[in-house]
Amino acid sequence: MVEYNELIFEMSRQGRIGSSLPESDVDKVDLHDKLPAHLIRDMPAELPEVSELQLIRHYTALSNKNHGIDNGFYPLGSCTMKYNPKINEDVARFEGFSRIHPYQPVETVQGALKLLHELQEDLAEVTGMDAVTLQPSAGAQGEWTGLMMVKAYFEQKGEKRIKVLVPDSAHGTNPASATVAGFKTVTIPSNEDGLVDLAELKKHVGHDTAALMLTNPNTLGLFEKDIVDIAKVVHEAGGLLYYDGANANAILGKTTPGNMGFDIVHLNLHKTFTTPHGGGGPGAGPVGVKEKLIPYLPVPRIEKENDQYVLNSHHPLSIGRVKGYYGNFGILVRAYTYIRTMGPVGLRQVSESAVLHANYLRKKLEPYFESPYSQYCKHEFVLSGSRQKKLGVRTLDMAKRLLDFGYHPPTIYFPLNVEECMMIEPTETESKETMDAFAEAMIQIAKEVEENPDVVLEAPHTTIIGRLDEVQAARQPILRYSKEE
């Protein structure tokens, strides 16, 4: 294949255009009659000038340099790279969904509000919560929204609680969200089984504990067996339990955060509920809460009054708005479509398959890589590259070698508490053949590390570009194209 390495700005030629707008059918306006000269632009923005075909070829060439789920296996742990159904894409583009304005009179958008209201109810059921807001745009924003509710709840009760506890295996957004919500983060070390150390937890829980943020199954893929006791410890100290449900793919129809004792949950619809990641977004991070936190939910809330769906902002204790309008509607439409496709039995099977797949793949790889925990995993598992590291090959090298086999590598170096971590999540939508082939590639790499480490150290060999110099990128940042260069 001919290598493509052109920026759209480099192919731009003065006088070309890629679109056609109508002539004005009203009177001309000279901007200089309207505005003072200093507010009128004299240097046009240097946007590219390309024909429509050039534009399409450019982006098609770029897409060919990108790996998505539709290209091949993508076992990126903690990200739930499952199949993104096509019907969801079609439905979100229906003109009755994509061409409506958020400020239209509610009578003219009853279909949209009905969908949102039903989705709220479905997600409340899936999480075992009493009410749900669909406003947050992503997991991190969901976390922060939840923590702002925690804050408001304690303020209302007149209690000053400033600490949020997070395990050392927690996703980076957990402590970051706690900071943005104005809390201090306290890190709780995991025990050698990869679980929350109850004794350590007890040491840190106290009258200043606002909440414990937990992922369950945790980011090592292990179910926190002591969850009921954990919840009790936190609740007895007057704190709340926050469930990071970014990866809920193991619990659908099996258990709920509500049953486990959690008070607040966020979900990443762009993981468990199949909405595409889009190369980094947009997603959606709905938040569910138990009854006692309902008054603090963001406004406007989508409610049903008699037979009408309405937007209600009259909730005086609400934390307010967290995002423009009502959430990432187009994403919510996709998740709704998915839930309707699967139904209750289907969703339970999703989790059962996801868990079976992860355990199967782990079992196949265990002879070749350090597998730090013996408990059955849930939808994902971690391996350590420590054995290979002793031979001079790091997890990063093995990840790069996987690229040569056409796979997206697992998540690496996360969670932080596992040395040379590889976090693998096959998901339920992959076939056994795919997992078998992936396992073979991994096993081959493990053998290469022993017999011919250079082939791993110098990987990737087959990609369109080699390893990139990230240090140079950060030291001498080039963050935009400039003509002078």
């Binding site: 759209i8 255009i17 890629g18 707008l21 009203v26 309207k34 200093h38 507010l39 046009p44 240097e46 534009l55 770029l62 897409s63 990108n66 290209n71 990126l76 499952k82 159904p85 019907i87 979100a92 994509s98 061409r99 409506i100 304005h101 003219t108 958008v109 059921e125 745009s137 991190a140 924003q141 922060w144 702002m148 970051a176 900071t179 067996k225 099996k254 258990t255 762009h270 990641h277 190369g279 977004g281 947009p282 997603g283 307010g320 708005r321 967290v322 995002k323 309008y325 509607f329 994403i331 309707r340 355990n359 690229l403 996360f414 339920e428 990737p460 990609t463 570009i465 950060a474 963050l479």
Partner: protein, 450 residues
């Protein structure tokens, strides 16, 4: 549990083989560490699965309960606009190499996404007149709040001043966000349809981290950024401008007028209204603040052969490295919509975007003049872009009811957020034809006379 679901590939034999390797007899054994008392017994109480053909039908029925802009010419704006989206946009973002990829953590197999975002960053810099733009934020309002928080942390001051002519939702979100980080938000008063500069000057003090205005503002009016820059600079405050990127095709770039941070929403360029989301925030700064920007940034570098390539860079700012010390908690953003707006900007091109902005100005100007001729009061004193305020002798709700009967969606009621009774904010984009505008005016005239 052998499956009849099209997204689940396991056959009975597959399952048996997997279970056999694990030396267990059923999947239930894998869930035995879930304590019995918290397991669900029975199925989730949600509707049963619907086969694809029936589901498509059902979703069509649901969507047809909404009145949409293809059937109802729409005069609503207020932050979300009905602009033409070139066909190429949907084709490009429908390529699943783009939309089914995660954040580009592995640059060797993500060069397409990375380069497209690098180009997006460049286009945002061009429009805003800034040095550095990130790869996107959730939306305009949350970008604004992040900009305010950045101003607080980087100046170590305790309050921001936001003009009342900034979108009410942006101000509402800023209030929520400031509650978390515990800083003060003061509003600057209005002088009619623009910020009251005298009062702003009085409000400024040594605690002021930033002044925030919108360009064009919520009422469509074009604030004089030069004057506001002078006021904020006097007290050493940062100047934050929330700008409509389409308007920037013709208006002087905020970066040239002294803005320290420019933020906003790319929705007008290539992103459907979609009931308010997903849209796409942007965030741009001058070089000196480069290492404080929230979110992902793509940078250019070279590979081991010296070949040009792109990577996520300056990651030391971000949550996955800095955890509770990160400059923001943002992780996922709106990458696919950033791509959509990049494609739209490339399609319009240097000339097309100016033409589109010009059409907006002319259509709005035409409609305002028509309304004035019929005796309606257009309230903007400052020049406006594609939106303006009109006063009617009737409540806006009634006016909009009549317009709906005539097959149109009317403007935004300023009665709620601004207590401006009987005043409507009308947006006129290039999508509105002269005929549609005339029709609107006719309905109003009939109402007035009848």
């Amino acid at each position: 549990m052998t499956s009849t679901y099209r997204y689940l590939p396991d056959t009975k034999q597959d399952q048996e083989e997997m279970l056999a390797l694990l030396t267990i007899s059923s999947v239930d054994e894998l869930f035995e560490d879930v304590p019995k008392e918290i397991r669900l017994d029975g199925e989730l109480n949600i509707p049963n699965a619907v086969p694809e053909p029936l589901l498509v039908k059902k979703m069509h029925q649901l969507s047809s309960q909404n009145k949409h802009a293809n059937h109802y010419p729409i005069f609503l704006g207020a932050g979300t606009y009905d602009h033409y989206i070139p066909s190429v946009v949907n084709h490009v973002i429908s390529r699943s190499e783009f939309y089914t990829a995660y954040t580009p953590y592995q640059p060797e197999i993500s060069q397409g996404e990375l380069q497209a975002i690098f180009e997006f960053q460049t286009m945002v810099c061009e429009l805003t007149g800034m040095d550095v733009a990130n790869s996107s934020m959730y939306d305009g309002p949350t970008s604004l709040a992040e900009a305010a928080s950045l101003a607080i942390t980087s100046t170590r001051r305790s309050k921001v001043i936001v003009s009342k002519s900034v979108h009410p939702e942006s101000r509402a979100i800023l209030n929520t966000v400031s509650g978390g980080l515990e800083y003060t938000v003061e509003e600057a008063a209005l002088d009619g349809d623009i910020t009251d500069l005298e009062k702003l000057q009085e409000q400024m003090d040594q605690d002021t981290a930033a002044v925030i205005v919108q360009y064009p503002n919520f009422f469509g009016s074009i604030e004089d950024l030069t004057k506001i820059k002078t006021i904020s600079e006097e007290k050493g405050a940062l100047f934050i401008v929330s700008a409509n990127p389409l308007a920037l095709a013709l208006l002087e770039a905020p970066g040239k007028l002294g803005a320290d941070i420019v933020i906003g929403d790319m929705q007008p360029l290539g992103i459907p209204m979609s009931f308010g989301g997903p849209h796409c925030g942007y965030f741009a700064v001058k070089k000196k603040m480069m290492r404080k920007v929230p979110g992902r940034i793509v940078g250019q570098t070279t590979d081991d052969q010296g070949k040009r390539g792109f990577v996520l860079t300056l990651q030391a700012r971000e949550q996955h490295i800095r955890r509770d010390k990160a400059s923001s908690n943002i992780c996922s953003n709106q990458a696919l919509n950033a791509l959509a707006s990049a494609v739209c900007m490339a399609s319009l091109g240097k000339e097309g975007i100016r033409q589109m902005a010009q059409l907006n100005i002319e259509k709005a100007d035409y409609m305002a003049k028509c309304l004035q001729k019929k005796g309606f009061n257009v309230k903007n004193k400052a020049p406006f872009f594609n939106e303006f305020i009109v006063e009617f002798p009737l409540p806006v709700k009634e006016v909009n009811g009549k317009l709906l009967e005539a097959g149109m969606i009317g403007g935004f009621d300023l009665g709620n957020d601004y207590r401006l009774e009987n005043e409507m904010l009308i947006a006129v984009t290039e999508q509105r034809t002269k005929e549609e505008i005339d029709q609107f005016v006719k309905v109003l005239e009939a109402m007035k006379n009848g």
